[in-house]
Symmetry: C2
Subunit: 191 residues, 2 copies
Amino acid sequence: MGYKVPVGISNKHLHLSDQDLAALFGADHKLTPYKELVQRGQYAAEEQVDLVGPKGVFKSIRIIGPTRPQTQVEISKTDARALGMDPPVRESGKLAGSPGIKLVGPKGEVTLGEGTIVALRHIHLSPSQAAEAGVKDKDLVDVKTYGTRPVIFEDVLIRAGDAHFREFHLDTDEANAAGLANGNEVEIVKK
Amino acid sequence: MGYKVPVGISNKHLHLSDQDLAALFGADHKLTPYKELVQRGQYAAEEQVDLVGPKGVFKSIRIIGPTRPQTQVEISKTDARALGMDPPVRESGKLAGSPGIKLVGPKGEVTLGEGTIVALRHIHLSPSQAAEAGVKDKDLVDVKTYGTRPVIFEDVLIRAGDAHFREFHLDTDEANAAGLANGNEVEIVKK
């Protein structure tokens, strides 16, 4: 049997730079943590913004803190269709050439030149968890799911390090396709 | 290499009984074919209805003809969430215990007692295609996809017979999760 990892489903959300946080919520505004996440130091914030695409709007989308060097909006392909966009599937932080989007906050608006992606599914592991699973940072593994719609996700990226903790991140399309709910366990099937 | 099958993505749609067709569009109304489908004798009809769930509405949803013994509404899990429903993943025609839904047509409304499902992904094959692929009706096979989000769909149902023609039917969640578009080829990996 392979190493077991619980599922964490990412609904559409965004990360903000300090500059964009100030533009949307006012100068010197600080994010207010609403719920701690499994990944160390990360939290869902109280703050929300609207995402405005060419063909649609999503109201009140959650910000994940803390702030980052560059603003990043993560949506599913289903969300993208509703917005009238076609963002690439990308690893977090790799935003070059991805489409922009308009953000509307309580104190202002920001029109990004780039930064909208469909997040590449990945597994977070601490160093000891990675050792136990027999994998290392940047490895690609296959992940087997169980339930009513069993699937093997191929070429799933391993992200291992001190800031990481055992969790398989996938988006709502992927979770729905596999019939997965938060906390369901999947299994690493090594290459 | 396994047998190749093109993808056909099912967006939300419904099949109507003669009785429900009459209730929604008027007595003696006949469906008007709009586009022939790959599966023999089936067509997207000109006619559309609204789907009304506990928490949401989808306007102008396409009817697939011809009529059937029982009305069947097929939606994705993403659609189901928007409607406020939790239908089971089911093979076509297996509707016992599935949730009802309200349909609104130009001449009347129908509130179904059951009939809303998330369609079980499946592969249609003619008898000669099934022979070529080395599978038979009701077999379960694994299906490998290619592209930016490669996946193996496990336990995919084979539906082989004279009314069937080579096509892998999956819903929009599954297509988005695998990064598939209509006509992309996938491969049967036999059990």
